[in-house]
């Protein structure tokens, strides 16, 4: 501001930025100036407008008034790519990474055209980017297998790859442990030293104090000033953030006066062990708040969850002296153990249920008569508890998901308090909660202890542990490595103990647990920094191509088995017929695979195939070249139309793929029946003969099917289109943030899916030779089976066209062989059913059930 030279002037300047939402002013004439080479912190409570401000700077949100200048250029048409082109990059708190894609693919996919390396050089290029930030990850590892810290580094590498002048880090340390925070800070200082401006958004004041040169405070959507870090104290900043003086951040600790020293401990663990903790002894007296700390993956989270009945636990557990076996959450609850999950959106809150239903869910039976819930009592009880915790909600019937983070957490606490805990286990009780509400939550927890109960807090926030806990137990490698009590409980001591407890060699340190393991903490050893060595079978089965090998082997074995039973099987005539039939299913399965990679499904693909043959039965009856070409053109065009309609119903009308394609199913089947109530309309012999032409005994349509499958696989793996398809299917919101054309991808994807069905219909036309409205119906099921056999993730993002083709091969071989072995109609159904179920169960077993994925992503 003072200097006028372009080199020294601010590289990011926001002037008079105002943003209104219905009923709320998110930002009011906010001002921000960030200088090159500085680390500029932005602090404020949740809802103060930090995220809005940054979204506007990053071009992902449009301000009502005000301007954004990046590197002295006003952003006239704000968009994420416009901001990136001007030199601004954002590292989001939730990294915009695609879980099913590899590290390298993620890096390549995120680049704007100007920075995008050619596919041939991608590996070297990606390695360089990763080395720049010190990320020690494999290029071909999937993001879903990385630890949170590694994901963060990949995200930063991605941002830096476009050589930004301004780098925004949004709550970058929220998911990191102390050691990773240090590494991050080193990197941040390095970027700043090269002249990059770093905007550092955080609510962790101690961290901000260490890293930032200047600090801007936001409160209620207004900027409250920018200061040199050296000129202000933490208290000053806190006062500006909260807007009122803070007398005491934390409630007083236990005095020990009221406690009866002879009373049995509320919780008494003797030599308990579990998947990631061993021989733990822990006693918590009435009135005590005890903290568990350590780096993630060192067993303290697991111990807490195990006591809550969510994980296996061996050893002796006593609650108030009475032995308890918390084998299930229900048993733990019955013993008075109440658990407040750390991952609120995933495990804590029922977003779509009302505040009342959320608060009541643990204690439904307490207010029931003969199994029926008494509604008036439920209302009054929940209203009282929600009121006591001062939850800000329009009404008891408001969906809990619409409340702010802090109030959501209070609802979860209200639920827990209603269950009258003897022992409350709170994991990260204030994560994502604003400062004001934090204090209230601390008081609630302390209040519960003061009533003679015990509270166990698992937290990665050492400031919180210092302020809240009477005693802190530090874990390392599944064992207690230190215990701090009374005045020893300080941030420095806790951090010191955590660092000391771990072996000094960083490479050998358990370093953040992969998020996948967090979802199923029951399994596996402590996650290591490198991708853990998995059994070869598991590694094989979780790859994209592996199922194809298994399918090919299974098909060959089946043929051998069938040939042993009937020597007619191995004749060229049979093979010719088999390969021809197979081709139709291969084409249709390739189509289905597209829908599944997109995270959807196409139920209409069978009726569509039948419908197209019906269409052909009107047009391809003459045998003239013109007629045949018209028929084929009509089939392809109609198919594309149906596919585009499917995609549009899903994207533009917001219907789920199942519903949309079910509608298409009904309509297509109806139209087919109207056109051909009975089978009729003979396809001309010349067309049939042409389709059945062979090379040796191999029908050319089979060769075509194989070529198409290989080509489709190549497109999926090696082109931007394929990358985009998988990206959109893997994580749609993230893909959207990465400027992927989500809607277009869906519509074109379903279009392509239907065009593949048209190719299948052309083959089927030569097979049946007649228009039959019901001829295609079985293809829906068969193609889904083929895709399942191919090991595609039904949740999208993964799949292989080659495997899908081999899945189709296996299905047709099975049917063919069963015919030769004189198995009847029933066996065809059974074999298909068994194939589907066994394949699905196998893949679930190898990949770990993704049962909770829906909840996790909601």
């Amino acid at each position: 501001m003072t200097s006028d030279g372009p080199v020294n002037g601010p590289v990011l300047r926001l002037t008079g930025v105002t943003k209104r939402y219905p009923g709320v002013v998110a930002l009011r004439s906010a001002e921000l100036e960030v200088l090159p080479g500085e680390v500029h912190a932005i602090v404020g409570e949740n809802g103060a407008g930090k995220s809005t401000l940054m979204a506007i700077a990053a071009g992902s949100l449009l301000a009502d008034t005000g301007t954004v200048e990046i590197c002295h250029q006003v952003m006239r048409h704000p968009s994420p790519s416009a901001a990136q082109e001007l030199g601004l990059a954002v590292v989001y708190q939730q990294p915009a990474l695609l879980p099913d894609l590899t590290v390298m693919e993620n890096l390549v996919f995120a680049m704007l055209p100007a920075w995008r390396p050619p596919m041939s050089r991608a590996a070297t290029w990606a390695r360089e980017r990763l080395d720049l930030v010190g990320a020690d990850v494999g290029l071909h590892e999937r993001i879903s297998g990385l630890s949170v810290a590694d994901r963060q580094l990949v995200e930063i590498a991605k941002a830096l790859a476009m050589e930004p002048r301004v780098l925004i880090l949004d709550e970058p340390t929220e998911a990191l442990v102390a050691e990773d925070v240090e590494r991050l800070f080193e990197q941040v200082r390095r970027f700043a030293a090269t002249g990059t401006a770093v905007v550092y958004i955080s609510h962790r004041l101690p961290e901000v104090r260490r890293i930032a040169d200047r600090i801007t405070v936001l409160r209620d959507g207004e900027t409250r000033g920018t200061f040199n870090m050296a000129d202000v104290t933490e208290e000053d900043v806190l006062r500006l953030i909260v807007g009122r003086p803070i007398d005491s951040t934390f409630p007083g600790k236990a005095t020990g006066d009221g406690a009866d020293p002879g009373a049995a401990p509320v919780l008494d663990l003797r030599a308990v062990s579990g998947p990631r903790f061993h021989d733990i002894d822990l006693r918590i007296r009435p009135g005590e708040v005890v903290g568990l700390a350590g780096m993630p993956g060192n067993g303290h989270h697991d111990l807490a969850r195990a006591v809550a009945g969510l994980q296996r636990l061996d050893g002796e557990v006593r609650i108030q002296g009475a032995p308890v076996r918390p084998a299930t959450p229900r048993r733990a609850l019955d013993a008075g153990i109440v658990y407040v999950p750390g991952d609120r959106p995933r495990e804590g809150l029922f977003k779509s249920l009302s505040v009342r239903e959320n608060a009541a869910v643990l204690t439904l039976a307490d207010r029931a008569k003969a199994g029926f819930v008494r509604r008036s009592q439920e209302r009054s009880v929940t209203a009282a508890q929600v009121g006591a915790l001062a939850v800000k909600t329009p009404s008891l019937e408001t969906p809990a998901g619409t409340l702010s983070g802090g109030n959501q957490q209070k609802v979860v606490l209200a639920r827990s308090l209603l269950a009258r805990p003897r022992l409350l286990i709170a994991e990260e009780p204030t994560q994502g909660v604003d400062v004001g509400t934090r204090l209230e939550i601390y008081r609630i927890l302390r209040g519960l202890a003061d009533e003679g109960n015990a509270v166990l807090v698992v937290s990665s926030d050492t400031h919180e542990l210092q302020g809240l806990c009477d005693r802190v137990v530090i874990f390392s490698r599944g064992r207690v490595c230190a215990e701090l009590e009374g005045s020893e409980v300080t941030e420095e001591a806790i951090t010191g103990a955590i660092l000391k407890g771990s072996p000094s060699s960083a490479a050998a340190t358990p370093y953040g647990k992969p998020v996948g393991a967090a979802a199923e903490p029951e399994t596996g050893p402590p996650a290591s920094r490198r991708s853990p060595s998995v059994p070869w079978a598991k590694r094989l089965m979780s790859g994209d191509h592996a199922p194809g090998i298994v399918l090919a082997v299974a098909a060959l074995l089946l043929v051998a088995f069938g040939a042993a039973g009937n020597d007619q099987l191995l004749t060229p005539q049979n093979f010719e017929g088999l390969l021809y039939t197979m081709s139709a299913l291969i084409f249709v399965s390739l189509g289905q695979m597209i829908a599944v990679v997109l995270g959807g499904i196409d139920l209409s693909i069978g009726p569509l195939t039948g419908f197209l043959v019906v269409v052909a039965s009107f047009l391809a009856t003459s045998g003239s070249v013109a007629g045949t070409v018209t028929a084929i053109a009509a089939m392809v065009v109609l198919a594309a139309l149906v596919g585009v309609l499917n995609g549009s119903m899903i994207r533009l009308a917001g219907m789920s793929p199942v519903v949309a394609t079910l509608v298409a199913f009904i309509v297509l089947q109806g139209v087919s029946l109207l056109l051909r109530p009975l089978p009729g309309g003979f396809i001309h012999d010349s067309v049939i003969t042409g389709l059945h032409a062979t090379i040796g005994f191999v029908p050319w349509v089979f060769v075509a099917a194989v070529v198409v499958a290989v080509a489709a696989e190549w497109v999926l793996r090696r082109t931007r289109w394929g990358l985009q398809l998988r990206a959109v299917g893997s994580d749609e919101p993230a893909a959207h943030r990465l400027a992927a054309k989500v809607t277009l991808t869906h519509i074109l994807g379903y279009g392509a899916c239907s065009v593949f069905a048209a190719l299948g219909a052309i083959v089927l036309m030569g097979q049946n030779g007649i228009g039959d409205a019901t001829a295609g119906l079985t293809y829906t099921f068969s193609s889904i089976t083929a895709v399942i056999l191919a090991g595609a993730s039904i949740y999208g993002g993964r799949g292989s066209f080659l495997s899908a083709a081999l899945g189709a091969v296996l299905i047709e071989v099975t049917i063919n062989v069963s015919a030769f072995l004189d198995l009847n109609e029933a066996w065809r159904h059974w074999l298909l059913g068994i194939l589907t179920l066994v394949a699905a169960a196998l893949f679930c077993g190898f990949r770990g059930g993704r049962l909770f994925r829906r909840a996790a992503s909601a």
């Binding site: 109806g670 889904i784 829906r854």
Partner: protein, 296 residues
């Protein structure tokens, strides 16, 4: 897909409370209907008009019983959909139940009771198997029930060798009879609807069931057994489909082997028209029943 699911489920609880929550005084009126549901309803209605064969159109006289049967199986489907799943085994269970009540008694009334017991056992077995695959093994509901359906259809072929039989006269009399002027099938559908609605909305069991549908991981942390509730859902659904199958067989007397085929789509349609978001979460029995009526 995630984004659309989320938006659907947050905007989802639309029709919630029309049925059982009538007495709640403070419940705010929920009038916003997501466009997706309206669109779906319109499209389904349109397609139902297009396709005379998909839905029952034998005659106006027979409409009520068909609507009733559709409602019974649709209620089963609704329970599964509310849990975020989809039951594609409808056709298999209906056809197999119909086969059991035609083949096992061989037309004799004396064989009816054991046949009905067999049907119940079948439904239990199917429901438990689906529940096990989905909740314990982790197979997607769509795939588990698709596979189950294939096994059931194979069973139909196996036990009939392709030729249908006739139900005992007793069952036919019951299915065709009226009590106080109301067809028995309608009475049964109404009872099923009332019982399911009461259980889902008013009981501890039902509230926990809703919680599992809303967020399975949170339900587990809240001491609700996912395996028990998940499996229970598939068992109830299979029982609903089986009941529809038995009544349908009684009504038609000599049911075709593919008698269940048209009920899968129509059942899902009824649920969707009835306002249950396919992404899971809330659903209403009344809406589903009305959906079934509307479709027939």
């Amino acid at each position: 897909m995630n984004a659309s699911q989320t938006s659907e489920s947050t905007a989802g609880p639309v029709a919630g409370g029309t049925g059982a929550a009538g007495r709640t005084p403070v419940r705010p009126a929920r009038v916003t209907v997501p466009s997706a549901l309206v669109m779906t309803a319109l499209l389904f209605a349109g397609s139902a008009l297009f396709v005379p064969g998909t839905l029952a159109t034998d005659s106006l006289l027979s409409m009520a019983p068909f609507a009733a049967l559709l409602a019974v199986t649709a209620i089963g489907q609704m329970l599964v959909i509310q849990q975020g799943g989809l039951d594609l085994s409808v056709a298999g269970v209906i056809s197999m139940s119909a086969v059991i009540v035609t083949k096992y008694p061989g037309g004799a009334d004396s064989g009816l009771v054991p046949a009905l017991l067999l049907v119940v056992l079948l439904a239990l077995a199917v429901g438990l198997a689906h529940g096990y695959l989905v909740t314990v093994v982790g197979v997607t509901p769509l795939v588990a029930t698709l596979g189950g359906n294939a096994l059931l259809l194979g069973g139909v072929q196996h036990f009939t060798n392709g030729s249908p039989g006739a139900v005992p006269a007793g069952l036919q009399r019951f299915a065709l009879a009226k009590t106080l002027g109301v067809p028995n099938t309608v009475l049964i559908a109404v009872s099923v609807a009332v019982i399911v609605a009461l259980v889902v909305h008013r009981t501890v069991l039902g509230r926990r069931f809703q919680a599992v549908g809303a967020n399975p991981a949170a339900a587990r942390a809240a001491a609700i057994s996912l395996i028990r509730y998940g499996t229970g859902t598939y068992v109830c659904a299979a029982l609903c489909h089986a009941a529809a199958g038995v009544l349908l067989a009684g009504f038609i007397r000599t049911p075709a082997l593919n008698i269940g085929d048209s009920y899968l789509l129509a059942g899902i349609a009824a649920v969707v028209v009835g306002g249950t978001a396919l992404a899971g979460g809330r659903g209403t029995v009344l809406g589903t029943v009305l959906g079934a009526l509307f479709l027939t």
